[in-house]
């Protein structure tokens, strides 16, 4: 079995899909063949040229034929029609995972559309950059980043282990989380901020004074508006698949801005205390966020072991921990839904 070629298919060769391809190639798994598929011929060409995939397939059928694992990395709204097609086309016992920024809708679609014989494990790597598309792809994009993992109810143990293997190869840190909670939490620190960042840009850009204002803009404005440069399909689909979470946090953000408005108008001592606490708390947050992540995953040395990492059997320790967490969750005695490597014991 170790000598046989294993096929992984990446569908959607934008920043995420192509970065996963580059990371898998960099891991030099033996006998692994990575096939890429995208609706855009240009994306396929670029991804292949950059070495993110071994080959590309213009037709979905050929792309997924014989694949052990299918990684879906298109904008979120493309997931549903892909599930419809994969219901017919996915090979028996295939592992399917995705990297969509919203998870509740995706998990519902999977339950509704995918056949029993495939194992779907939802995923969301918390990584990104200002540029989009395969030209911006980076094998290290996921290194040290959180990676939400959400197995469907009928995913096999082997499939979950395989996706954990993928997460490890990417250098990311898995976090098991409930889909609805994921969407609420990510709305707070990723989706609503996309809207805020874009709104900050469009407000200035569409103001009549833009020609006078823009020469004064500096690095602060650039950094704060960088999410306005995100792929508009992606941003649109995120909003459309997580509207409740985003609107909830937008309303809270508007209320928070009103609180600052009142402080500026009426309470300068409160304003100072707020800025002061924010600086201290952010410093503490950065120290925590900057803590050295687990050392690079020890890559197994034999071809057998390498493939086992991606296709089951590997990551046993981590999976044991996951099982323990799931059991605790069922018993209801864990912090609900969210776990990470530190909350064990």
């Amino acid at each position: 079995m170790a000598a046989a070629e294993e096929k992984v298919t990446i569908i959607g060769l934008g920043l995420m899909g192509a970065s996963i391809g580059l990371a898998l190639k960099a891991a030099k798994l033996p006998n692994l063949r990575i096939v890429g598929h995208d609706l855009e011929g240009d994306a396929m060409k670029t991804a292949e040229k950059r070495g993110a995939v071994d080959s590309t397939e213009r037709h979905l059928e050929g792309a997924v034929e014989g694949a052990r694992m299918i990684i879906l990395a298109p904008p979120p709204l493309a997931i549903r029609p892909l599930f419809e097609d994969l219901a017919e086309l996915a090979p028996q016992g295939c592992i399917i995972t995705d990297v969509s920024s919203t998870k509740a809708e995706v998990m519902r679609w999977a339950k509704e559309l995918l056949p029993e014989h495939v194992s779907f494990v939802g995923g969301h790597p918390m990584a990104g950059k200002e540029e989009s598309g395969p030209r911006a792809a980076d094998a290290d994009l996921f290194r040290g980043k959180a990676y939400a993992v959400i197995p469907s109810t009928n995913a096999t143990d082997g499939a979950v282990k395989s996706v954990l293997g993928l997460v490890s190869i990417l250098g990311a840190e898995p976090i098991f989380i409930d889909a609805e909670e994921h969407d609420q939490y990510v709305a707070a620190i990723s989706h609503m901020p996309i809207v805020v960042s874009t709104a900050l840009f469009t407000l200035a850009r569409n103001s009549p004074g833009w020609n006078e204002i823009s020469p004064l803009a500096s690095s602060g404005f650039r950094d704060l508006t960088r999410l306005a440069s995100g792929d508009p399909y992606m941003n649109h689909d995120i909003c459309v698949t997580n509207p409740d979470g985003i609107v909830h946090w937008l309303d809270r953000m508007i209320a928070e801005l009103r609180r600052y408005r009142d402080l500026i108008m009426d309470d300068h001592e409160g304003l100072f205390n707020t800025f002061n606490a924010a600086q201290l708390q952010r410093e503490a947050y950065l120290v925590g966020a900057d803590r050295p992540v687990r050392e690079r995953v020890e890559m197994p040395s034999t071809g057998d072991q390498m493939n086992a990492m991606l296709f089951g059997g590997w990551a046993a320790d981590r999976y044991k921990k996951y099982e323990k967490i799931m059991r605790r969750n069922e018993r209801g005695d864990a912090r609900p839904g969210v776990t990470d490597d530190d909350d064990d014991e």
Copy 2:
């Protein structure tokens, strides 16, 4: 004259003051002595250790005695009491400039408090970074950045030329602008964004779900909240000295967020078009912002010329342009208030 020592005093040795000191030292002006003063002994020690100043003075009187130029770089609210002291202490004919983020109040205080014999030229370099304090100081902080220059009505030609010389030595690009307009424009792209960035952080940080949410936060959240790490005294003083500008733009930002909220709820085509236009417009903005700035200022080769750069006589071409602009402004036929190097002819 060239052989005589010229003294420049920097008051306030935070990120800005210490960076100016480092840049002046890097320019290796002959016979220039830079004296630093700060209320915090630690800041003075650090600035001296880093080579941002030649020496420090614990007492303002000694710090400014005999100075040709005094550069004020404390938080904005400290400017007024400094003007009160400098009214007594500033040497005859001294040039005073500042780097405060708000300008209308500062210009009013200068008019009210400073004696006729000193020349005040307001300044605001549009530069910053995540860290604050003299440890974070950087000689290249201002390179290629816009630098608002606002002469007081009684500033001499020589004083304006000297501040332009300073701007050139820092590698920045001067923009002549009216103080009230400055405060409105900068509220839009710097001050209101400080509030938004801080609010984004405090909203998440003070939410009951923070322990669950924060492990999912990634580079987007970090970049967007980075202004929450600014010096709280600075942020407080900015809000207190420019409340109208900031509240005006906060109200517009809240309205803009409501517009996005409506798009997310009711108009997905409009939402896509908005994200799409924002991406294209920001790309165009970045191309413009990234255009190569004027090549490094040609540094004069003799000691005489070097000192002339900082202390008058230099920058004649630029000053001629400034006079032309001022005349146009008086005639009322220019774009009001704002000029840069490209709008000439």
